[in-house]
């Protein structure tokens, strides 16, 4: 597999009333062409800021260190103009709210063709043909009619498909989907997930799926990175991570999920991780998770854990490693 994106030691500090605080802290990961990579975390984990930093769309005043290499080119070193060209052409994003992703008073066709013509330099007629083909790819019924319609005339799930079509218009190599299905019904979500999977396989496009929903991760992502308070907690192949998690936070997230095979007449309580994720600027010293971790040791409050490989392709930022599976 050839590597498409390599993020190394990415840190993003945001300005707040009490000074600069890191929303993303020394994050490193890589994505191969044609693979679906998941970034999981709750609010405050820094996952959305990570996505925004790929596009250079951070809030004003944000300070970025580290490198983001797309096919060898360091995106952090590009000028705004150069970055604009990369955005949309090589990188595209689909975010949570399809209602705001699409222009409310431009017809769907225009939104697609405009994008295409700018990045691909094709003429109007050609663009229109391709736009119709795209809508068909994302399974919008009656594409010709849909081109003339406005986003408001479609349901939430349809709008998300259209948003995906717009993202695909310039044939990007990497698609970042930030909570793409969170606002959608579960059956609609299933359709979108299948669509993303198909697109990835057919086009060899890489996808980064960012979500807090581990079920979605399990279904789509081949590899997974779990973030907490801006730092990487654990990363590795999805199946391994979800069946044998090594980081107590990952374990906690999995335990907190309603269990498919739960016994009891629906009165079993959910196992929640006590407390809540730290907000910006209030990240504990040492391991950020230690106040909520039931395996915390003295060293956890003092030393900052670095991700180290513990198995093939599996990184873990937890020196005590309390969940390591002993040879049985």
């Amino acid at each position: 597999m050839n590597e498409l994106l390599r993020v190394e030691h990415l840190s993003v500090a945001l300005p707040t009333r009490s000074g600069y605080h890191k929303a993303v802290d020394d994050l490193s990961f890589a994505v191969d062409a044609g693979e679906i990579m998941g970034i999981a975390g709750e609010s405050g984990s820094g996952k959305t800021i990570t996505a925004l930093s790929l596009f250079g769309l951070l809030p004003p005043g944000a300070r970025v260190t580290g490198s983001i290499r797309l096919d060898g080119t360091d995106l952090t070193a590009l000028s705004p103009r150069q970055l604009r060209d990369v955005r949309g052409r090589q990188l595209a994003m689909v975010s949570q709210d399809p209602a705001t992703a699409l222009h409310p008073i431009l017809p769907v066709g225009t939104q697609l063709t405009e994008h295409m013509r700018h990045h691909l330099g094709i003429d109007k007629a050609e663009a229109r043909l391709r736009a119709a083909a795209l809508l068909e790819t994302v399974r919008i019924p009656d594409p010709e009619r849909a081109l003339r319609a406005y986003p408001g005339q479609f349901s939430g799930g349809m709008r998300q498909r259209i948003a995906i079509a717009v993202a695909l218009a310039a044939e990007p190599r990497l698609l970042v989907a930030d909570e793409p299905t969170t606002a959608l019904d579960v059956t609609v979500q299933a359709g979108i997930l299948r669509l993303l999977d198909r697109l990835c396989r057919e086009r060899g496009m890489a996808v980064i799926v960012i979500t807090h929903d581990l079920g979605v991760m399990s279904a789509t992502a081949g590899r997974l990175a779990v973030m907490y308070a801006g730092r990487l907690a654990e990363a590795g192949p999805t199946s391994g991570l979800l069946t044998r998690p090594r980081h107590p936070y990952t374990r906690g997230l999995l335990d907190a999920l309603p269990h498919p095979g739960a016994q009891g007449e629906g009165t079993a309580p959910l196992v929640a991780i006590g407390g809540s994720p730290p907000s910006l600027g209030r990240v504990p010293d040492g391991c950020p998770f230690h106040p909520r971790c039931k395996y915390a040791e003295a060293s956890c409050a003092a030393e900052r854990p670095e991700p180290v490989p513990v198995a093939a392709g599996h990184l873990l930022a937890c020196p005590p490693d309390p969940l390591r599976v002993s040879v049985s």
Partner: protein, 319 residues
């Protein structure tokens, strides 16, 4: 109907829209809630579960049917004050950022539950302190403002406010969807505890099927304004009988690392303004027969629960 029943909805219908363009968001629903029972109400967009929840608590006027709370009729909120006998029927709202007045202190907000019912301010304050503790928040919260708290904490404050009124039935309209994963579990648990401790009836409306499965005793699945399946949670979830329920369950992605894509349900939810004829689910149903287009569906008992599917009901009934 046992003495334990605290809320009854009979043939409830809710309509929206202007004259000549009425849309039935809820079209004939029967539901009962008993003390100490959690009834989950699930369904996707357009199914009418929120409208049903609002009608149940008295926020929407009924186009048909009746809602009864502790034997008395639930009238919709109009210009006048809500009747005293309905104080025991309260609602937990979806958005914890909108349901608390940003300019009032938390202690006052909770005390409202007491003072608006005629209690004294001193009583209100005392109860607020008690309830903050009950929902797991520190006593110092009394003098803080809502924006100083996270979504999960605000939802606890909102719950404390409803508890201050001494309710016997709560209707929670998507109480956890606006929250973080950790907070979702915490709030779901809190509601479960409160129901058990105070023997409250709880209607839990949620699109998160997994949480409802874990926490609710009974579950009702809605589609386009009707209940299509209703029964004990494990019965419904373990072996769903209505094709729509089957599709819902199959569409839930499991976090088991198996990389299995959830099953798709083709088609879109029809416009509630013009629902399909006969069985409303028939255009998307994998086992639809010709008769499904003509016959309107009624709930019938099948395999220990009720479903509105004559195809399945007939199959099960025949020896």
């Amino acid at each position: 109907m046992s003495d334990d029943t605290v809320l009854t909805l009979a043939g409830v219908a809710v309509e929206y829209g202007r004259r000549g363009q009425r849309v039935r968001a809820v079209d004939g629903v029967d539901l009962t809630v008993g003390r100490g029972e959690i009834v989950g109400l699930v369904g996707e967009s357009g199914c009418g579960k929120s409208s049903l929840a609002r009608a149940g608590v008295g926020l929407e006027p009924l186009a048909a049917g009746a809602v009864t709370f502790e034997g008395k009729p639930v009238t919709a909120l109009g210009r006048r004050r809500r009747p005293e006998y309905l104080r025991g029927l309260q609602m937990v709202f979806q958005d914890p950022y909108e349901s608390l007045n940003p300019r009032r202190k938390v202690g006052e907000i909770i005390a409202d539950g007491v003072t608006l019912g005629g209690g004294s301010h001193a009583d209100g304050r005392a109860r607020a302190a008690e309830l903050l503790d009950r929902v797991g928040l520190p006593a110092t919260a009394t003098d803080s403002y809502p924006h100083e708290f996270s979504g999960g904490q605000r939802q606890r404050i909102a719950i404390a406010r409803t508890l201050a009124a001494g309710p016997s039935c709560l209707i929670a309209d998507e109480p956890i969807s606006a929250l973080d994963a950790s907070a979702q579990a915490q709030i779901a648990n809190l509601l479960g505890e409160l129901v058990a401790d105070a023997r409250l009836g709880l209607v839990l409306v949620s699109h998160d099927l997994s949480v409802v499965r874990q926490v609710a005793h009974r579950v009702a699945v809605m589609y386009l304004g009707r209940i299509v399946e209703i029964g004990d949670t494990e019965t419904v979830w373990g072996s769903p009988q209505h094709p729509y329920t089957e599709a819902l369950v199959a569409a839930i992605p499991q976090a088991d690392g198996a990389g299995v894509l959830p099953a798709d349900l083709p088609g879109d939810v029809p416009d509630p303004a013009s629902p399909p004829s006969g069985c409303r689910f028939h255009p998307r149903c994998p086992i639809a027969e010709d008769s499904c287009r003509e016959l309107d569906q009624q709930l019938a008992p099948v395999a220990g629960r009720e479903i509105a599917c004559q195809v399945r009901a007939t199959v099960k009934a025949s020896p």
